[in-house]
C-alpha cells in the first residue's frame, strides 16, 4: 500500500531542493521569471517582506486565487506562508495542495504561545529559527525543513549570519558534550532530549536546513552556503532590485558554485542596483520580525 505524508516523504522534497534558491513571488509573472532563472521553488505571497515592513498592518496568508494562478503558471514546487499558530490558514493551504507551508514570522503571528501542530498535516512544513533550541522545538512539532531566520525585508545579511552561526555553532557545541550532560542541555535548549541526543550524535539537524532573510546579492547567497546552509530563500532581494531576472539567475549560479570565487566574481558584475535595504541594526526592537516564534 502506498503511504502518504510520511516524514521521509515530507523531508524528501526538501532534500530535492538542496543547493537551490527558493524565491518569493507575488504574481504569476514573477513566478515565471523565477522558474526561468532556475529557482527550485517559489513562495507565493501577497506582499514581499520589504512591502509588509513599509506598509505595516496585519500580514496574512495570500489570497487562494493568487496561489492557484501561480500554481498554474509554474511546474516547480509552490510554497505558501501561514501565520504562526494559524492552523486554519494551514488547512486552507493544504486543501489548495501547496507543496510546502512556511509557518512564518514574516506574517503577523496568530498565537503568542503555540505553533501549528504540524504532525496533523500531510503537507510538509518549513519553520524559521534563530537558535538551536528554537529549531528543535519546531522539529518536535513536526516541521520537515528548517530555515534559519534573518531579518526579512531589509536586504541586510547580518542577522542571517548571526543565526546560522548560532544554530551551526550550537550543533558543534552539542557534539563536544558528554552523554550525561545532554539531559541538562536539553533543559537549557527547551527541547526534547531525544532530539538533542540525535543532533549530538550526528552533528547536524535531522532535516534539511536552508537560510533566509536579508539575502540581496550572489555573494550573500554564497556566504550562507559556505557557512553551512543547504540552500537559500530569497525574499525581497530579487523583485525589489532593478533587474530581477538577471539578479535571480546570478543568485542561482552563485548558490551552485558557492566555493568558486571566479564564478562568483563573474556573476556579481553588471547586475544593476540591489534593493536599497535597511540596516537591521537601526531597526527598533518592536520592528524586528525575527523575534516572532516561541
Amino acid at each position: 500500500m502506498a503511504e502518504l505524508g510520511t516524514m521521509r516523504v515530507k523531508g524528501g522534497l526538501a532534500e530535492m531542493l538542496k543547493g537551490g534558491v527558493i524565491m518569493d513571488v507575488t504574481t504569476a509573472e514573477q513566478a515565471r521569471i523565477a522558474e526561468e532563472a532556475g529557482a527550485v521553488a517559489v513562495m507565493a505571497l501577497e506582499r514581499v517582506p520589504a512591502d509588509i515592513r513599509a506598509e505595516g498592518g496585519v500580514a496574512r496568508m495570500a489570497d487562494p486565487d493568487k496561489i492557484r494562478e501561480i500554481q498554474e503558471t509554474v511546474t516547480i514546487p509552490v510554497m505558501a506562508k501561514a501565520r504562526i499558530g494559524h492552523f486554519v490558514e494551514a488547512q486552507i493551504l493544504e486543501s489548495l495542495e501547496v507543496d510546502y507551508i512556511d509557518e512564518s514570522e514574516v506574517l503577523t503571528p496568530a498565537d503568542t504561545a503555540n505553533h501549528i501542530d504540524k504532525w496533523k498535516f500531510t503537507v510538509p512544513f518549513v519553520c524559521g529559527c534563530t537558535n538551536l533550541g528554537e529549531a528543535l522545538r519546531r522539529l518536535s512539532e513536526g516541521a520537515a525543513m528548517i530555515r534559519t531566520k534573518g531579518e526579512a525585508g531589509t536586504g541586510d545579511i547580518v542577522n542571517a549570519v548571526t543565526h546560522m552561526r548560532a544554530v551551526f555553532g550550537g550543533i558543534r557545541r552539542l557534539g563536544s558534550l558528554r552523554e550525561d550532560e545532554l539531559y541538562s542541555e536539553a533543559k537549557n535548549l527547551q527541547a526534547p532530549v531525544e532530539l538533542v541526543q540525535w543532533v549530538a550524535e550526528h552533528g547536524r539537524l535531522p532535516v534539511v536546513t536552508f537560510t533566509a532573510g536579508g539575502i540581496a546579492t550572489p555573494a550573500d547567497a554564497a556566504l550562507c552556503m559556505q557557512l553551512g546552509a543547504d540552500g537559500v530563500f530569497v525574499g525581497s532581494g530579487i523583485f525589489k532590485s532593478s533587474d530581477p531576472s538577471t539578479r535571480a539567475k546570478a543568485i542561482v549560479e552563485a548558490t551552485t558554485h558557492y566555493r568558486d570565487a571566479e564564478v562568483l566574481a563573474r556573476v556579481s558584475q553588471g547586475l544593476g542596483d540591489a534593493m536599497s535595504g535597511l540596516s537591521a541594526a537601526a531597526l527598533a526592537p518592536e520592528d524586528l520580525l525575527e523575534t516572532r516564534g516561541w
Binding site: 502506498a2 510520511t6 521521509r8 522534497l13 530535492m16 538542496k18 510546502y100 510538509p124
Partner: protein, 212 residues
C-alpha cells in the same frame, strides 16, 4: 572506481554517501572537465528545470551526452535522460505526473527476479509514459515501469538514495565494473571495485535481476 555525482543542485550528497558505503570513490561534478576520468556518473533527484538550465550554462548537457560510461538517473535524473532532454534512453517521461507534494508517497516495489520488496520513495515523481523496444523494465508499481535499464543507463522514478537499501546502487556499480572490463580486457580489476567496503560485507540480498 571513481563515480561522479552531478552536483549542480539536488540531493547529490545522499548518492555520494551511498556510493562511498559501497566502496566507490564518489566525486561531485559541477563543470564539464570534472567528467574526465570517471568510471560512471549519477544524476540525482532535484528540480529538472534547474538542472537543465545550470547544465546548459556550462556545457554540461553536451558533456553528459558525450560521456561514455554507465549512468544512473533518479527522479529528475531520469527526466534529464529521457528522449525530450538528453535523449540517452528511448523513454518519454511526464514530470510531476503523480500530482503535487500531498500526493507524494512511499510503497513497496516488486523487483524483477527478486522476492524481497524494495521500498520506493516517490517525491512529486515523474511517470514513464512511453518505453522503446530495447528498454528493460526492472521494477513496476501498479503495472507501470519505475526502474528501467537500456544498455549502460539505469533510471528510477523514485529515490533509492533516501532509504538504506543499496540494491539499485549495487546494480549500477556492477554495470560500471562490467563496462570497465569490456572496455579494457587486459586491465586487472578496477581499483576499489570489489564492492566489499572494509573487507566484510552483509550477505548479499538477491541483487537486481537483469536480463542480459
Amino acid at each position: 572506481m571513481k563515480i561522479g555525482v552531478l552536483a549542480v543542485q539536488g540531493n547529490f550528497r545522499e548518492h555520494a554517501a551511498m556510493l562511498r558505503r559501497l566502496g566507490a570513490n564518489a566525486v561531485e561534478v559541477r563543470k564539464p572537465e570534472q567528467l574526465q576520468g570517471l568510471d560512471g556518473l549519477v544524476i540525482p533527484g532535484g528540480e529538472s528545470t534547474t538542472f537543465m538550465r545550470l547544465m546548459r550554462l556550462y556545457g554540461l548537457d553536451e558533456a553528459v551526452r558525450e560521456f561514455t560510461g554507465p549512468v544512473l538517473g533518479t527522479c529528475a535524473g531520469m527526466i534529464v535522460l529521457d528522449r525530450r532532454h538528453l535523449g540517452a534512453l528511448d523513454i518519454e517521461v511526464d514530470r510531476n505526473a503523480y500530482g503535487r507534494q500531498v500526493a507524494s508517497f512511499e510503497a513497496d516495489l516488486a523487483l524483477d527476479g527478486d522476492g524481497e520488496p524494495l521500498r520506493g520513495v516517490f517525491i512529486r515523481a515523474p511517470r514513464v509514459r512511453e518505453v522503446g523496444p530495447d528498454v528493460e523494465v526492472l521494477a513496476e508499481l501498479d503495472g507501470e515501469p519505475v526502474l528501467l535499464r537500456e544498455g549502460r543507463f539505469i533510471v528510477a522514478s523514485f529515490h533509492p538514495e533516501l532509504t538504506d537499501d543499496t540494491r539499485v546502487h549495487e546494480r549500477f556499480l556492477e554495470l560500471v565494473r562490467e563496462e570497465a572490463r569490456s572496455a579494457c580486457p587486459h586491465r586487472g580489476p578496477v581499483e576499489g571495485a570489489s564492492g566489499e567496503p572494509g573487507g566484510s560485507r552483509a550477505p548479499r540480498r538477491g541483487g537486481l535481476h537483469v536480463r542480459a
